[in-house]
């Protein structure tokens, strides 16, 4: 018997070490919101998130994957890498769709990590980019009159906009007739529901808001649209303006908290309202917020009197499916409409690329994802694609228009309103 050629368990060769122990220096974060070490430690780097990440799927790049982004954050947190342009770009390419959260067995709160990382990247941006973001988020979105003005300008300028932007701006006049402050139910009253009007939603999709109020009233609820509500602040939080997000949340909290229930018909807003507990400690409000589809699913919808003989595909908004973990409610609510045949979409749960401001900030990646989503909508041979979020509706609508597709985009509220006409 010959002796072993090498010692047993001799350890690692030169250049290899065990990960997780080395701290090269103090954290590279500056003061303010930053990814928390506890959240970063939650990732065990198993890589199961990779195939669920739309940007990883398209690029194959580790830096465009959730695991890679977390590793990049860790490099800064352990002082190995500075907060630089490369880090900023790595965070910017993320959609914030949070599909990785649904896929993650370790339950890493990726959305929260990304918000912290973006808040850190913000001060280092080039001056023009910082200014544009400040004007857009803190200026326009935070101030309803400015937002109305900007939307009016966009509508007026629509004919001369480049095609890509033109398709994103919905055609038609901005609706001026405001929503009624109070709508009484058709039958006996079950309670009071406050509806979050939203900012973009109310400007370009006021019909959806009106349908939402109508559907809730027909389901027996007294519906209030509280005055004084402002933008929910979701975009501010997602794009690293967490202080502005907190200011908006503090304004909305007392305004919305008075009602028995709060309903959001935009998935992104609903998800963000439900995080008000974490953001400003408003757990009382956060716990009572429901997406319209969930609310109707829990409490029962309006009487459905008319048939809609159509094939309907449901596109899951990421902030409903991944951020709020709601999949079945919209399908149950829409499936209850007589005549509706629900058809599945390929690659369920895949982001359409709208992702808040993403379609403006990352046009190439956004367009690639949008085109793929529109193609799967077309292939489903649905007549209608139901979408519960304004960003997705604009994106999918624009991409369907670019394909000259006949599929119509509708919010579930609009279909329910049509089916529940007296």
């Amino acid at each position: 018997m010959t002796p072993p050629a090498a010692s047993v368990g001799g350890g690692l060769p030169p250049g290899a070490r065990f990960a997780g122990g080395a701290v090269a220096g103090p954290p590279g974060w500056h003061a303010g919101d930053a990814p928390a070490d506890r959240d970063l430690a939650q990732c065990v780097a198993c890589g199961l998130c990779l195939p669920h990440c739309p940007t990883y799927r398209l690029t194959g790049l580790e830096v465009a994957s959730p695991r890679g982004r977390i590793a990049a954050m860790r490099q800064v947190a352990t002082g190995r890498r500075p907060l630089d342009r490369v880090f900023e770009q790595a965070m910017d390419l993320c959609l914030g769709c949070r599909a990785c959260e649904t896929a993650c067995p370790s339950q890493v709160p990726f959305g929260r990590l990304l918000e912290g990382a973006r808040a850190q990247a913000e001060p280092g941006r080039a001056a023009p980019a910082r200014l544009a973001r400040w004007i857009g988020l803190e200026g326009v979105l935070g101030h309803p009159p400015l937002l109305t003005g900007a939307a009016t300008l966009a509508s007026l300028a629509r004919p001369v906009l480049p095609p890509r932007l033109r398709r994103l701006v919905p055609a038609g006049r901005l609706r001026r007739r405001p929503l009624a402050a109070v709508t009484e139910p058709s039958g006996p009253r079950r309670g009071t529901v406050a509806v979050l009007r939203g900012c973009i939603q109310d400007l370009w999709y006021r019909d959806v808001n009106r349908a939402t109020v109508t559907v809730l009233a027909r389901a027996g609820w007294r519906v209030v649209v509280p005055a004084g509500q402002v933008c929910c602040g979701a975009l501010h939080a997602h794009y690293g303006h967490l202080d502005a997000a907190r200011r908006l949340a503090r304004r909305n909290h007392p305004v919305l908290a008075a009602a028995d229930h709060v309903v959001a018909n935009a998935a992104g807003c609903g998800a963000h309202l439900r995080s008000y507990g974490e953001l400003i400690g408003a757990d009382d409000l956060a716990a009572r917020v429901r997406d319209l589809s969930v609310f109707l699913d829990e409490h029962g919808g309006p009487p459905l009197r008319h048939r809609i003989e159509r094939r309907v595909a449901v596109h899951d908004a990421c902030h409903l499916l991944h951020a709020q973990r709601v999949r079945d409610a919209p399908r149950r609510v829409l499936g209850a409409i007589p005549g509706v045949e629900l058809v599945p979409l390929e690659e369920p749960g895949r982001c359409c690329g709208a992702a808040g401001l993403y379609n403006l900030l990352q046009p190439r990646m956004s367009a690639a994802l949008g085109a793929a989503r529109a193609e799967s909508v077309d292939r489903s041979r649905a007549a209608i694609v139901a979408v519960g979020n304004p960003g997705c509706a604009m994106q999918i609508g624009a991409q369907l228009a670019a394909r000259r597709s006949a599929v119509r985009v509708a919010h579930p509220a609009e279909l329910l309103a049509a089916a529940s006409r007296p």
Partner: protein
Amino acid sequence: MAADPLTLGLYARDASIIEGGCALVVLPSSADEVQACVQVAAREGLAIVPRGSGTGLAGGAVPLGDALVIVTSRMTRVLDVRPEDRLAWVEPGVLNQDLADAVRPHGFTFAPDPSSQQASTVGGNVATNAGGPHCLLHGVTSGHVLALDLVLADGARVRLGSEGPLAPGYDLRGVVVGSEGTLGIVTAVCVRLTPLAPVVSTCLLAFPDPLAAARCVAACIAQGLVAAAMECMDQASVRAVEQYVHAGYPEDAGAVLLVELEGLAAGVAHAVAELGTIAGAHGATSMRVAADEEERGQLWKGRKHALGAVALYAPHYYLHDCVVPRTRLPELLADVYRIAAEHRLLVVNMFHAGDGNLHPLFVFDRGEEGVLERVLTASQEILERCVAAGGVVSGEHGIGLEKRDFLPLLFSAADLGAQACVRQAFDPDGRMNPHKVLPAGARCGDFAMARGDGDLAAAVRSLPAGTWI
């Protein structure tokens, strides 16, 4: 191509806890581009580390020093599906799950189903000769690879194996499967397709403790019950998994056994009844048969996500992979729990019970002083116990950096020397994934030394001309 420090840092590790470093990362999208990259590396004398999704658990894709990392994540085309020949050609970056999805409409699947299957690549499966729960019935990756295209370290392209059932000559295909990127880089794989079973039944059994579950498994196999998969999870795994999937795993059970039976309806019904009888005789406290596809899916999702779910307990893990004869499973499990307790470590056990493939998983926080040393010592003790019980040090994860120095537990210097000679024939300069798989001393020179009388000069003279020492 990427060379910025942040990106390079991201390719410094895989899903193991070993970390290295690299000089350059390239993401070719075709075999031609792979060849071009390898040729540049050959000219510059660079080491090459192939990488798929980086889900490996033994450090096989961890680069060291100035290596060139060739990532296959952009080679994701399913090139050809030929149901009539029961085969498909795919690029190495195709994900295992995507391949299964692509061939399912034809009534087939790709049988190897590692727990990482949703994320791991076929190329990575080939590199590690990956297993998975269903390899109990269908066998590991090697049995499902008919042929492969390989770029050698000098840039030459070869095809090994054949589409037909028998390839004349040496089975170099078999040599490359499981070689962890040390013999070349795979640019296309011809996989064997397995017909989908007509009926599948998934049973969840609860036991008072993992030892009882292991005894039940041994009894099933002894009595000729042929299962497609037999997976065991102890209570700590079940609790971690359940809070993630909510699949209805019994959290009060000391251990659960997930058994899948497949075949024709009558055969499956008979096997389910037989399983119930055997399990009852071995202390099973409950048995549940999944009612539909959704329930099956949830149960399997739980099992396949167990690794990540342990983050519930602590942020770092060290997952072991060792195999013992099934009859020795209860005894080895007891040893694993004892060794962990002796080193004050939390160990979670989830394993391919049917194969005797144990996966003791240490969960810890590296921030704790001295914990890593305790983990490594405990790991070595477990491996030594497995080998002493007639087992081996790796079942399916590969050797990589993690296990290479444990190979002498299993193999003599002559055994290792023979392996090193194969490696040298493929890669004379030692640039393909260096430092992996074989321990540092295992070279042809050592082989000659071991065979001779200790006279180095005589041993060298006895070698054929051109032998690398």
